[in-house]
Amino acid sequence: MMIMGWFNIYAAVYNEEHTKIIDLSQRYGKQFIWILATLVLATFVVIVDSRFYVFFAYFIYAGLMILLALVLVLGKEINGARSWFEFGNISLQPSEFAKFGTALALAGYLNNKRQELRKFNIFLPAAGIMLLPALLTALQPDMGSTIVFFAFFIVLYREGMSPFIFISGILMVILFFLTLLVDNFYLEAGLVAAATLLSWFTVKNLKAWLAGLGILIIIGGTLFTLDHYVFKTMGYELILLITIVLAGIIYAYYIYSRKALAFLVIYLFLLGTVLYVNTVDFAFNHVLKPHQKERVEIMLGFKSDPHGKGYNVNQSIISIGSGGFSGKGYLQGTQTKFKFVPAQSTDFIFCTVGEEWGFLGSLTVIGLYVFLLLRLIRLAERQRSMFSRVYGYGVVSILFTHFFINIGMSIGLVPVIGIPLPFFSYGGSSLWGFTILLFIFLRLDASRSEYLV
């Protein structure tokens, strides 16, 4: 509850200050109304009995999912995404509310299903609860929100999901970027080499290991020779793929006769990653929209186009970088004041902090976020009910993802994905969304001694 008060001031002060610079007549006023409304909302959220949330978790989730689906049909298209309901002057973004809804639903589902997430039939619905809003927001398309829903894997991990899913998820992300950065053939060759090395630790038999390597080399060499003189059209990547598959057939005998399961895992892993790399390559070149592709490319440094697609990030880094150690002073930021940074009241709000308050300001903000997140984890861990704990981790996951992606993109660490910085960015939906999200948890925490369902 101590945090609550602190947070109110925190949110209020920063919102007012920074929106004031941006547009005195409109956005400041609107945001102020949003903030007042938020206070009312927060009070309401706190007054409601905590059992209400537990009981209605699924209903809230279902209602919000319907809204998410409806927005695809009835929503107003802004900047190419159909994610807004419009009521007169006010626009609402259901995806911002769907976040706490999902957290509630996940908490409700996992409540008392202790330590059973390793079971596939338990894990799957949990994943489904996350993936449904992820899918719906992806259709808008609103990549930012989609990614936020994926962040619930952090919750699942905490609640006992196999770390392999987590590790392979991270591995997939790494491989994804490597695919775009490195020539596919070298990447795949590297994977083969890694698998070969790994297999040494499982096989531990020089003869068998050399035989396996020999098989690989012979098949690969034969295919290369054939291609070089006869087909001439296969290319290295296809040769590699066929080599792995053919070698696998021969390895199958070895695996079957020796029951070498570890080796099987390594082999399947190799096959999987090679296929994944090819899929990513295909998806990147044929499925992603050009502007998304470009954003990823700019982040990876493939493209430098300071006045084109990279303009946002470039200007953002310039404005943050120009803040220096102690900043230019409140309301003295030239870059943000004169609108060099696009979307600076919403997605690029961190620029104002960076420019006007400098490194010290940035450090403070990041420090506060990290402190808040760690504090939330501590609160979550002290919950008696699993519902509250899952929900608490849900809050952590959502805030963390917003915090990391928003600031990360402002300083060019992450591709530009338009999601707001919690409690900073202009926008009523997100402010309300985060407030409800946080205050439900505070409500749950307040009644942690009570027995909840």
Binding site: Y157, S319, F359, L363, I411, L413
Partner: protein, 618 residues
């Protein structure tokens, strides 16, 4: 509540802390270590607007304004800042074509995307006023006020020079200048460019992403004020200059008038000339090309110090002076003349006059024979071992008069003229292979001699001063401290004694006022004694050039003048009237009624068919 997976929270905590650290490290790099972002930010926001100082004004010796400034507005563009705009409306408002728009924008981009280029030069005040209201609609464009020259009268173009835009070669040479700057060319504008241009200032504005000015940077603490160029007070007599140009209308030639006492140039006329306002503003380049294309009249060519003529008989006073100083004659020395000077097969012809003549009479009558014999005595002076030695002695006097070299006026393009040393004849003829008679034509100002009207005017001033001169110069004082180059205050004394000058001046007085025999008696005035000397510069291409040098009054002279009227025959016919009218105008401010006929005769003389009409901007 603990469960089997409680420890996993530590991994999550570690992950969050690591991410926080990664963000902080990155921020530390871009905010604390890297400096370039600050510069980029300044480039985004700061617009340096040059404050062009008004160019200094130019006045005449009587504080009459000759050159002033008029406002003009250059439309500038920073290509990198341009954005969406109504191009059609833009073109309509500025009265330009779409092609012009595209062409100019491309040129600006090619020059530099991020720095301003001139998009449209010198908009009128009306266009500017209308355009300024809507300039916010055209991102990347702004107006730069400039000043253009304005001339009070359509005269003195050669003297003043003009203003033109700097070219790339000059920008490379002198980094002070930037694309689109103006610089003085020729005349006073070039000679006193540094003083006239003043000091540029800069105002730093902050602009937003749409290039809208949002206020001054650091409350103007970093701004520098433009300092107006220094005003120049010249020694020119504007009225005299105008009158001289009027006299020289429809003629080719030049007039140079100097105040002997100071060396200040009173008037410097080169005809044909042009209206200096032809070379102002947008019409400049076209008119300049037209003037340059006029190869027959060469209006841009400044004959006053860029044309070299044989001095002819106007040279005789100098030879007389040297002969006196070298003591090879005395004023009463007489030489005979039988319609010329005859030695063996050599004949230097002369007109009919009484014979023999003394120095005064010889000057008044312009006797060729007299000066041939005097010159021969100079060169065959037994004091010197050889003709060559005597020749070099003679030449040393001419050096002192400033012949054969640039006088050192403010004009960078002065001509040297021709004056050979004995070494030249030694190598032309072989050493010892030439004698006085070989170079005898120099006795009467012909042969290996070439002088500019400016040099002749300076010589006349030196004679008027009885033996010294100041380097002719246009400017009397600059700005508030009034300093000019000290070389113009330095007396150049000629090593000829002043009694010798008096003797020659008596002859020059007789040229005009000496009654019968005086070659220019027709221009004599009743109340002012003009001392002069007629001359005829031989012109192998047509009618000889009429030349007259003069100063007045005889005692305490106020004006020394050299007048050249090309293809006008004898010196007495036109150059002498021109010079005498100039003297009268300068000393008395108006032409006496009994000399109006003389003035009309000069006005009505037309030695060229027509002067092309060119458009001027007013």
């Amino acid at each position: 509540m603990k469960d089997a997976f409680t420890n996993r929270k530590y991994l999550i905590i570690t992950f969050i802390v690591l991410v926080g650290l990664a963000l902080i490290i990155r921020l530390f790099f871009i905010q604390v270590i890297e400096e370039t972002y600050r510069l980029s930010a300044d480039n985004n926001v700061l617009r340096y607007v040059t404050q062009y100082p008004a160019r200094g004004l130019i006045y005449d010796r009587n504080a009459k304004l000759i050159v002033s400034n008029q406002a003009a507005y250059d439309l500038m563009v920073v290509p990198a800042q341009t954005g969406k705009m109504d191009t059609a409306l833009f073109c309509k408002e500025l009265d330009i074509t779409m092609n012009f728009f595209k062409e100019r924008l491309r040129a600006a981009k090619n020059y530099n995307r991020k720095s301003p280029s001139i998009f449209l030069k010198q908009m009128s005040a009306e266009t500017y006023a209308k355009f300024q209201e809507k300039i916010f609609m055209y991102p990347g464009f702004y107006v730069q006020p400039r000043t253009l020259r304005k001339y009070s009268r359509p005269v003195a173009a050669h003297l003043l020079g003009y203003i033109s835009e700097v070219d790339e070669a000059l920008i490379k040479k002198d980094p002070y200048y930037k694309m689109g700057d103006y610089i003085g060319k020729l005349g006073i504008e070039e000679a006193y460019e540094k003083e006239l241009r003043g000091t540029r200032g800069v105002k730093i504005f902050m602009v937003d992403v749409f290039s809208r000015v949002k206020g001054s940077y650091a409350d103007g603490a970093m701004d520098t004020l433009a300092v107006q160029g220094s005003d120049i007070i010249s020694g020119i007599d504007y009225d005299l200059q105008e009158y001289g140009e009027k006299l020289m209308q429809n003629k080719t030639g030049s007039i140079v008038a100097i105040e002997p006492e100071t060396g200040e140039i009173l008037a410097l006329v080169s005809a044909p000339n042009y209206d200096p306002s032809l070379l102002v503003g947008r019409i400049r380049s076209e008119n300049f090309a037209n003037l340059q294309a006029d190869t027959a009249l060469k209006p841009l060519f400044n004959r006053a110090f860029m044309a070299s003529y044989p001095p002819g008989s106007t040279f005789k006073p100098v030879n007389g002076l040297i002969a006196l100083q070298e003591k090879v004659i005395v004023p009463s020395t007489e030489f005979g003349c039988s319609n010329g000077y005859h030695v063996g097969s050599l004949t230097v012809a002369c007109h009919s006059h009484s014979s023999p003549l003394n120095l005064k009479e010889a000057i008044a009558n312009s006797c060729n024979s007299y000066f041939c014999q005097a010159y021969r005595r100079i060169l065959e002076n037994p004091r010197y071992g050889s003709v060559a030695e005597a020749y070099d002695k003679w030449k040393s006097y001419l050096d002192e008069f400033g012949f054969g070299k640039k006088l050192g006026t403010e004009f960078s393009n002065e001509l040297n003229g021709i004056l050979k040393s004995s070494a030249y004849f030694d190598s032309y003829h072989k050493k010892g292979g030439w004698k006085a008679l070989t170079v005898i034509s120099m006795a009467i100002g012909q042969g290996e001699l070439g002088t500019t009207p400016l040099q002749m005017a300076n010589m006349t001033a030196a004679i008027a001063n009885r033996g010294y001169y100041y380097i002719p110069h246009i400017v009397r004082s600059i700005g508030n401290d009034k300093k000019i180059d000290p070389k113009f205050r330095e007396k150049h004394v000629i090593s000829i004694d002043s009694p010798n000058f008096e003797a020659v001046i008596q002859g020059m007085e007789a040229v005009v006022n000496g009654g019968p025999g005086g070659t220019a008696r027709s221009v004599a005035m009743s109340d002012i004694i003009i001392c002069g000397k007629t001359g005829t510069a031989e012109n192998p291409f047509g009618e000889d050039h009429s030349v007259f040098i003069a100063f007045a009054p005889r005692d305490n002279p106020k004006i020394a003048i050299a007048a050249y009227v090309e293809n006008a025959g004898f010196g007495a016919t036109y150059a002498a009237p021109v010079a005498s009218l100039m003297i009268e105008k300068y000393l008395k401010n108006e032409i006496a009624a009994n000399r109006k006929w003389l003035e009309d005769r000069v006005f009505n003389l037309n030695l060229i068919d027509s002067i092309p009409e060119l458009e001027t901007e007013h």
